[in-house]
């Protein structure tokens, strides 16, 4: 392994650096706060690498530019924030329907509507449950540090290609704007061959990519095949972190920035002698169902903390043992839970 040095970067820059490290030379996007460092970085760096930065006229156009590039078999990415991601839902549904790999970054801000520019986790449902029309799933990764913004973006390209499926990195404004040291990856897996890509029908029959299936039963079969793929993803790609759960009586479940804050609260609780652990889903789809179920059989009490009014908590409730006591603490609309607030909720549960 070569000597790796630590460099100080913003979360949004880490996203862009990760994409380029993964071999993505084609970025299409539209500016929106709080993720503008991504297009700014890409517009600065890609031309020198023989790549392309296109500032699209809208998020509708940018996701479709990504779709066009992806259909030719090249790695391509867009990034946006909540209202922009809403506009991309049409494209995401088509990408899923045509089984195209693409990476979409959502640096979540608060809503609904124009909302505000502060960080939020209010897009969990949209990312994990669909958002666009039809039965489909995105692979969703939730980083909780600037290093993970970088690592997860690289991973997102591998996952997208492996499963021919759009993959989302679900970050938030805090992660996008904060600076932390990261270590660059010097070992990236090679891009797989893409025998389905449109490359011009030279020395082979023509091929097409489509999501329209009009013949009786065809679309049902296509949907069943997609669902089978999602089951494969659930079987092989679940990632989660557990901290101090071995002897825990209560576990805080949280993802992304909320998990990071919860970690501080957990260590404060431990200092007070309370047996508290942390459960952090890293993949939101596939959701770590089995791991959570096993944990819930041991700990009985689970406190879900989110920067919204309760979205992941629904998946937690669905996947815990019958006896588990699930409570929720959330701050919507740009509110960020403090370690003390979470500690207070933990202490309430023990009293």
């Amino acid at each position: 392994m070569s000597e790796s040095k630590r460099i100080l970067v913003k979360g949004n820059e880490a996203l862009a650096m990760g994409a380029i490290k993964a071999g993505c030379l084609f970025y299409f996007g539209y500016p929106i706060t709080p993720q503008n460092e991504v297009p700014e970085y890409m517009s600065r760096v890609l031309p020198g690498l023989g790549g392309q930065y296109v500032q699209a006229e809208s998020e509708l156009a940018s996701i479709n530019m990504v779709m066009g590039a992806s259909s030719l078999g090249v790695r391509s990415m867009t990034s946006s924030s909540s209202p922009g991601i809403s506009l991309m839902q049409e494209g995401l549904s088509y990408l899923a329907g045509q089984e195209l790999p693409a990476v979409v970054i959502n640096v979540v801000r608060c809503g609904p509507g124009l909302g505000g520019i502060a960080a939020s986790q209010g897009d969990y449902f949209q990312a994990v449950k669909g958002g666009g029309h039809g039965d489909y799933r995105l692979i969703v990764l939730a980083p909780a540090s600037v290093q993970e913004m970088y690592d997860h973006t690289i991973a997102a390209f591998h996952l997208a290609d492996r499963y021919r499926n759009p993959t989302m990195v679900l970050a938030d404004g805090v992660l996008g704007q904060m600076q932390e040291p990261i270590v660059e990856c010097d070992d990236v897996q090679p891009e797989p061959r893409k025998p389905w890509a449109l490359t011009g029908a030279k020395n082979r029959p023509m091929r097409y990519l489509k999501s329209l299936y009009l013949k009786d039963g065809e679309l049902e079969a296509h949907n069943r095949m997609l669902q089978e793929k999602y089951r494969e993803i659930e079987k092989h790609e679940v990632r989660c972190d557990e901290l101090l759960t071995e002897d825990a009586e209560l576990v805080v479940a949280a993802f992304g920035t909320a998990a990071r804050i919860a970690r501080t609260a957990v260590s404060m609780a431990r200092d007070k002698g309370l047996k508290v652990g942390l459960f952090r889903p890293v993949t939101l789809f596939p959701f770590p169902k089995r791991e959570l179920k096993a944990l819930s059989e041991r700990v009985k009490k689970i406190l879900v903390v989110e920067m919204n009014t309760g979205q992941m908590v629904e998946d937690v409730r669905l996947n815990v043992s019958r006896e588990a006591d699930v409570s929720f603490y959330g701050r919507p609309g740009g509110g960020i839970p403090t370690p003390n607030e979470i500690l207070e909720k933990i202490e309430d549960s023990f009293s």
Binding site: E57, L60, M65, A69, S71, M206
Partner: protein, 247 residues
């Protein structure tokens, strides 16, 4: 015996699903002839619209990508930017291009993307059953303008070719009608020119083809052809609106 007429190699042997008297057959043929002429079939990717021509992968013998409604020029942009060695063309109807996809076509043209757009204008939404389009003529009855298009409530028909020709980006913008043999030959020349522009890396090229829709116009095929000359051409004049010369 000398062959004087044959099916272009860029077209497959597929049974047309288009209605009798529809211009898509002719328009497809012109595109296929251009692909043959410049030997582009093996390095082309066509972008199919939402609408009647979505099934163009049944007909064209080149790679085809399906676009969401109106977004074909954005897809084409992503394609051409990532693989400039490929020839990229979109084939779009008026509902697709002039309504929901207006933003995409204007900005693709304005950026001067080196792609070719074939725009089939029959003044009506065909596949969805004959609703009003942005190009529907004043007074024209459709299923959603049952009393005839009225400018007070529906606005005026949009002249896309003229609009795009005001932009700096396009290298070629022309409009021709698919009504008479003479006009079809002129249309053929325009389609050839549009692909040639892309091959020469001259930037965005655009051909609008005035087309029939007998089914949704409620006319027989020959009256539909007459309607192009009598009603469409007076509002949508034929000709080249912009042509950039090579340096």
């Amino acid at each position: 015996m000398k062959t004087v007429f044959s099916k272009p190699a860029a077209l497959n042997d597929a049974v047309m699903h288009y209605c009798p008297g529809c211009s898509h057959g002719v328009a497809h043929r012109l595109v296929a002839e251009a692909l043959d002429h410049y030997d582009l079939t093996e390095r082309s990717v066509g972008v199919a619209p939402v609408g009647c021509a979505v099934l163009m992968y049944d007909y064209f013998n080149c790679d085809i990508m399906e676009a969401p409604h109106g977004r074909a020029p954005a897809l084409a942009t992503g394609m051409k930017r990532s693989r400039p060695d490929l020839v990229i063309f979109t084939y779009q109807g008026d509902g697709d291009l002039a309504s929901i996809g207006l933003s995409e076509i204007v900005h693709c043209a304005n950026r001067g993307e080196n792609v070719t757009v074939i725009f089939v204008n029959n003044t009506v939404y065909g596949m969805t059953g004959g609703q009003m389009a942005p190009t529907t003529l004043l007074g024209q009855q459709t299923t959603t303008s049952p009393y005839g298009r009225n400018f007070n409530t529906d606005g005026y028909p949009i002249r896309i070719a003229e609009m795009l020709s005001t932009l700096e980006g396009p290298s070629f913008v022309g409009r021709m009608a698919l009504d008479t043999p003479g006009n079809i030959l002129k249309a053929r020349k325009m389609v050839f020119k549009a692909f040639h522009m892309q091959v020469r890396e001259m930037g965005f090229s655009f051909v609008e083809l005035l087309a029939t829709c007998p089914t949704n116009w409620g006319l027989n095929p020959s009256d539909s052809i007459k309607r192009i000359k009598e009603e469409l051409v007076p509002y949508f004049p034929l000709g080249v609106f912009k042509e950039r010369e090579a340096d």
